[in-house]
């Protein structure tokens, strides 16, 4: 079983739809959670970063973390064709002092297409 599970999709939605992307994880040592967006032939771009359970909003994007269920989500409102990309969840363990080692564990990535 992988430490981080993410449905690879592909996911295809019409412009303006609400998109929900999800990851589950098995290791409670993961304390920091990120969503990256990766366009074809480009490096990943950090979209959202959270370290506590609850919601965090940034424009059309909302990141949700439920540590009790070991489940994280990214919601995209009013999706646009420019949102078409691969979305990667990533997590980092914290050491005993609460700092991170900086080693990201990625999900497999979900390929999203938003069509006009």
């Amino acid at each position: 079983q992988k430490e981080v599970e993410q449905d690879p999709g592909p996911l295809s939605v019409p412009e303006g739809a609400i998109v929900s992307l999800n990851c589950t994880y098995s290791n409670s040592a993961f304390q920091y959670f990120m969503w990256y967006r990766q366009y074809s032939r480009k490096g990943p771009e950090l979209l959202m970063y959270t370290y506590s359970s609850g919601n965090k909003e940034d424009g059309r994007f909302t990141a949700q973390v439920d540590k009790s269920s070991k489940y994280i989500s990214l919601f995209i409102r009013d999706s646009q064709p420019s949102d078409s990309a691969t979305y990667l969840c990533a997590m980092v363990r914290a050491n005993a002092g609460g700092t991170s080692y900086g080693k990201l564990t990625f999900g497999q990535g979900t390929i999203l297409t938003v069509h006009p």
């Binding site: 690879p8 920091y32 990120m34 990256y36 032939r41 480009k42 490096g43 990943p44 771009e45 950090l46 970063y49 990667l88 980092v92 050491n95 002092g97 609460g98 700092t99 991170s100 080692y101 900086g102 080693k103 990201l104 990625f106 999900g107 497999q108 990535g109």
Partner: protein, 117 residues
């Protein structure tokens, strides 16, 4: 400047060649990383440098040799690669967190697409 710049963008090399990948950042980050990404797969960590010293080597074959000449530059020297080493090679950087540990917010470059013939 919030960019991580990687050169070259594309590289084709034979199995007997020696080549180098270069990475540069001017964000004052003291942790730098090399990741490898195969098509339709997530990035895989190869090396981590903290304060210009190698802190993590994820059991990478010796045909990959990293170098961090100063706090802004990171190189990856390639020698006698195999066709299965063809991939997108990503450089990333981050601040250092508490107790000198790398910070989890990584900034990635656009990568070097490497093809080994």
């Amino acid at each position: 400047d919030t960019e991580v710049t990687q050169t070259p963008k594309h590289l084709v090399m034979g199995m007997t060649n020696k080549k180098s990948l270069k990475c540069e950042q001017h964000m004052g980050h003291r942790a730098m990383y090399w990741y490898k990404q195969k098509a339709k797969k997530p990035p895989e960590l190869m090396f981590v440098y903290s304060y210009e010293k190698l802190s993590i080597n994820e059991s990478v074959p010796s045909r990959f040799s990293p170098e961090c000449p100063n706090s802004s530059l990171l190189n990856l020297h390639l020698h006698a690669l195999q066709p299965e080493d063809s991939a997108l090679y990503l450089c990333a950087s981050s601040r250092l967190g508490g107790a000198g540990a790398p910070n989890e917010k990584l900034f990635f470059g656009s990568g070097t697409q490497l093809s080994v013939l």
